[in-house]
């Protein structure tokens, strides 16, 4: 508010340059992949890289992916193969994210505010489930889930992803709750609100950046997960996109760069849209600041 105009302009320019540089670094490969989805196989591996206006984009790759056109090495069955799996991915990732954020946040709040015997041990146990490489437990899981009828279903994989994501949610949200001053809740409880209402009225609004961030991560993890999806949900009706991509990765004529790029682009879109939709929750702090009375 009190800086001179020159200071503000210079600072603005420097920050702008920094942000632009970061954007270029992060987006260039993405741009490259999206571009590849519109290229033919020859154009992808051309010795001079072909940028936006140096070739004629075509939608063949997308047609192949969506099953509308058959290309030799591409094992795209009927139209709707890809879309069907996309829907499965959305359902499973969405449900598991919702559950892991819900359970994880509640646990994190309890850990941050309440006296719990053996709290640090419990927290460590929760963290430890993320330390083992999945290859170690994949076979026992398969056996267990098949025996319980959870394999080849939405439920089993959703449970698996919820379990995978909960530790992150608990630790992240506990970190957030630790930093939110409990004076706010105390003041509300002094006014007569029971703790649960105080939580919704006072703590939750401050916790949105944390919740949004963890939700985005959970979605990404569940979305791109391959190992468990491959083992547990191999049947087409319940399978997710990552296995589809892997199955169609290589054809008789080498790697199917074009279709793969198209699948990657299509697959990243829902996650991007989701993140864009919650961006205001992610970034609350700066414009809204602390809770005023």
């Amino acid at each position: 508010m009190y800086d001179s105009t020159t200071t503000r302009v210079v600072r603005g320019v420097l920050i702008g340059i920094g942000i632009a540089a970061a954007l270029i670094f992060f987006l260039f490969p993405i741009y490259w992949i999206v571009l590849a989805s519109f290229k033919t196989k020859l154009e992808v591996s051309s010795p001079t890289p072909l940028h936006l206006f140096q070739f004629t984009p075509n939608l063949d790759n997308y047609a192949v992916v969506l099953g509308l056109k058959k290309q030799g090495p591409m094992a795209a069955g009927s139209p709707g193969d890809f879309m069907g799996r996309l829907v499965n991915s959305i359902i499973i990732a969405g449900a598991s994210t919702f559950l892991s954020v819900l359970f994880g946040t509640l646990t994190a709040y309890a850990m941050a505010r309440f006296r719990i015997p053996g709290k640090s041990d419990i927290l460590f146990y929760i963290l430890s489930s993320r330390m083992l490489p999945p290859v170690v437990i994949i076979i026992p899981i398969f056996i267990m889930f098949t025996a319980l009828g959870l394999a080849q279903s939405y439920v089993g994989l959703t449970i698996m992803y919820t379990v995978i994501n909960i530790p992150f949610v608990v630790w992240m949200m506990k970190g957030f709750f630790d930093e939110i001053p409990h004076e706010y809740e105390d003041a509300a409880m002094l006014d007569g609100y029971p703790r649960v209402q105080a939580f919704f009225k006072v703590t939750l609004p401050n916790a949105w950046p944390g919740i949004a961030a963890t939700a985005v991560f959970c979605v990404i993890v569940a979305w791109n997960e391959y190992v468990f999806a491959f083992i547990l949900n191999s049947k087409a009706a319940v399978s997710t996109v990552p296995t589809f991509i892997a199955a169609n990765f290589q054809g008789t004529a080498g790697i199917n760069w074009g279709p793969i790029a198209a699948m990657a682009t299509l697959f990243v879109l829902p996650v991007f849209i989701f993140t864009f939709l919650v961006r205001n929750h992610l970034l609350r702090g700066v414009t809204f600041g602390a809770v005023r009375r």
């Binding site: 009190y2 930093e179 001053p181 409990h182 004076e183 706010y184 105390d186 002094l190 009375r293």
Partner: protein, 364 residues
């Protein structure tokens, strides 16, 4: 000279005008209280004086300096926030030392001044604790200490006692007032609690909807409220209000409460009414302690019926039904009646208030 002058200040938040055309002068070493309900602009004014908000129009002066374009750091003010704003990762000592550290004051000097301040506030034994290990009252003293340690020109306090329980609040009121006198520093204090305002302020600025209704000493504001709002806001229980109609003539009379009772109007009142009133309808006001109660009728006594009696220990509070209206009256504890009993009220003629129905300004 640490005076604070605000001239024609206006502050907007989007479409909402929080403070409109405000004029105020705070004397050197005065304890000025901004009193008003939430949304009246008192905190916005305080924050603008601090430099945390920039007003769209108006001038703010501290001493002789115009500070509009100066950041808070350069205004030589200190502030105590409603939620204390203590740095959670620092000990009480470090919190109080913060402003000195920020100015690169040498370490031994810091130590000396922090301990001195802690001693005044009786928190020396708490200096190694973190804010989380302190009770509300203790945190508030640390926040006070942080403000005091720099010995600024002006202290600004934003409802510092609101988050304390009632008993602690009462104790802290007295302490704060004493502290301010000892420190001899200009202080501006924001609150919505009229008890705090009355007990602590040298002067009170009562605000409503972004404007000042009245500025005066507690006595002035209590006994000579200039608007209906001030009269109703200050004082507990609130002043009794009844509609009144004035009839001029040889024997000017005031018909109060839709005819519940009537009062003879003294000549000097009649003159005031003729000069200042816009019409013939008014709001009549009288405080509960200015009503004397009798068990028998008599001259100038108004009949009424006991609706409810609340024995409060040091006083009895009566709700009396007069016509269609209820009037509250205070008596000593030994005056006791039952519901339904008849009782006669005598209103102290020197303590009557009359407010113009249109402008809500005081006539009497």
């Amino acid at each position: 000279m640490a005076t604070v002058t605000v001239e024609k200040m206006t502050k907007r938040f989007g479409d909402v005008v929080a403070v409109r055309d405000l004029d105020l002068h705070v004397e050197d070493r005065e304890f000025m209280v901004f009193l008003g309900p939430s949304g009246c602009g008192k905190t916005t004014t305080l924050r603008s004086i601090a430099g945390l908000e920039k007003p769209e129009a108006g001038t703010i002066r501290i001493g002789d300096r115009v500070v509009n374009n100066l950041s808070p750091a350069v205004r030589d003010i200190a502030m105590v926030f409603q939620f204390y704003a203590l740095y959670p990762h620092k000990t009480a000592f470090e919190n109080i030392a913060f402003p000195l550290q920020a100015r690169n004051v040498p370490k031994d000097e810091i130590r000396r001044r922090v301990i001195e301040v802690a001693r005044v506030l009786h928190i020396e034994h708490l200096l190694e604790r973190r804010p989380r290990q302190l009770s509300g009252g203790e945190q508030q003293r640390v926040a006070l200490g942080r403000a005091m340690v720099r010995r600024p020109q002006v202290f600004l306090m934003d409802e510092p006692l609101t988050n304390l329980d009632a008993k602690l609040r009462a104790e802290m009121r007295a302490e704060l007032k004493r502290l301010q006198k000892d420190l001899n520093a200009t202080t501006i204090y924001v609150t919505h609690d009229q008890v705090e305002a009355m007990s602590m302020g040298d002067r009170i600025a009562v605000m409503k909807l972004g404007q000042i209704e009245q500025v005066g000493t507690p006595d002035e504001v209590y006994n000579h409220p200039s608007t209906l709002f001030v009269a109703g806001f200050v004082g507990s229980p609130a002043m009794n209000f009844l509609p009144a109609e004035y009839v001029d003539g040889a024997n000017p009379t005031l018909h109060v409460g839709g005819g519940a009772f009537s009062l003879d109007v003294r000549p000097e009142w009649a003159q005031a009414i003729r000069q200042k009133a816009t019409g013939n309808t008014f709001t009549f006001g009288i405080r509960s302690e200015d009503i004397a109660l009798y068990t028998e009728p008599g001259p100038d006594r108004i009949p009424s019926e006991v609706y409810v009696m609340e024995p409060l220990g040091d006083v009895n509070l009566f709700d009396l039904k007069v016509g269609e209206h209820i009037i509250k009256a205070k008596t000593l504890p030994n005056f006791r009646l039952r519901i339904g009993d008849s009782v006669w009220m005598k209103l102290d003629p020197d303590k009557l208030h009359l407010f113009d129905m249109q402008t809500e300004r005081a006539i009497l």
